[in-house]
């Protein structure tokens, strides 16, 4: 009975890790899709982002049920679940960004900077995947989390410029203004939450040492 549990034990954990990895890959794909959508002004791609959010939701539920099925030591489980939930909320912001972009008209002078933000978001999501892999491999996460913080500060700077510029944009229609504002706010929130997620990986890393 015990040996069976031993081998099964390793398997459950590996499954969870695999699933989290594909969850993070989905995130990277979604960020990349959003970036391309903004670059090519392709409204269909925005629909793709929304689809990916649904797929991610399914994946999240699968991971959570796998974890509580008995993977990992009990004291690790809440932290792992919290991480998955944080990543899931990033998808929500991506979806929100996509919706708002569909509804709003982005002033052309802001287009480039918005694209840069989407570009950095994608880089950050890749770095998050790398950070997770490093955690699984038992490596020190310091350099990876620093890289993520660097990206986040870069985006923060751009956000400051954008917010200042926004005030100069003429708004004829309240709803257009609202969607534009929401678009910018959710676009820039993505990086904050990715940073949160990486901080959480650091917490997990420390607790297993």
């Amino acid at each position: 009975m015990f040996f069976e549990k031993a081998f099964r034990h390793g398997k459950k954990e590996r499954k969870v890790i695999e699933n989290i990895r594909s969850h993070l890959s989905l995130l990277r794909t979604a960020c990349y899709t959003l970036e391309t959508a903004l670059e090519k002004r392709d409204r269909n791609l925005l629909g793709e982002v929304i689809n990916l959010e649904n797929e991610a939701d399914v994946k999240r539920r699968e991971i959570l049920s796998n974890i509580y099925d008995g993977a990992f030591l009990p004291y690790l489980r809440p932290d792992l679940c919290k991480f998955v939930e944080i990543v899931d909320s990033i998808f929500d912001f991506l979806e929100e960004t996509a919706y708002c972009y569909l509804e709003a008209e982005i002033p052309p002078e802001m287009g480039d900077e918005c694209l840069r933000v989407a570009f950095f978001n994608r880089q950050m999501s890749e770095m998050l995947l790398i950070t997770f892999q490093a955690l699984v491999d038992g490596e020190d996460l310091r350099e990876k989390t620093l890289a993520i913080r660097i990206y986040e500060k870069k985006i923060d700077d751009i956000k400051n410029y954008l917010t200042k510029d926004l005030r100069a944009v003429p708004v004829e229609n309240f709803w257009n203004g609202l969607y534009l504002s929401n678009f910018l706010s959710s676009l820039t929130r993505i990086s904050d939450v990715i940073e949160d997620a990486s901080d959480h990986l650091q917490i997990i890393s420390v607790s297993i040492r």
Binding site: I130, Q133, K144, A147, I150, D157
Partner: protein, 134 residues
């Protein structure tokens, strides 16, 4: 990773004919360390005035910044680099020219600025990426 990914696209300008004090005000308000100098008259190029220039050549010498013109302490020509150059080129050029920032040009146009800090940050990211192939 190339310069384009890490540069700042927002450039702040100041006229050559403005006083150093006006330049200082701009630097303080915008929290930046350098300004691109636009020369009036026949000189069509650009120059740069940095915090170092302001401190070492004006303030520390006790000279009144309101009485000095930007053009008198600006450096020119600008040391530039192209958008698709990579980090090693950028850092090498900075070291050779002993400057802390490079201006990014696209032909004759100035499109951005890459600073020492930008290069440092980019290199840290390269380190973090490390052996991971994306």
């Amino acid at each position: 990773m190339n310069v384009h990914e890490f540069m700042t696209t927002r450039l702040e300008f100041v006229d050559g004919g403005a006083s150093v004090y006006e330049a200082i005000e701009k630097m303080v308000d915008k929290r930046i360390r350098s300004l691109v100098v636009r020369f009036s008259g026949k000189d069509d190029g650009y120059g740069v005035i940095t915090a170092r220039d302001v401190v070492f050549r004006v303030l520390a010498k006790g000279i009144n910044p309101q009485k000095m013109k930007v053009a008198e302490i600006a450096s020119k020509p600008l040391i530039t680099i192209t958008q698709d150059a990579d980090l090693t080129e950028a850092s090498g050029l900075m070291q050779k020219s002993n400057v802390a920032r490079l201006f990014v040009s696209d032909g004759q146009r100035l499109v951005g600025l890459v600073s020492l800090m930008d290069v440092m940050r980019a290199m840290l990211i390269m380190r973090a990426r490390g052996k991971y192939v994306l």
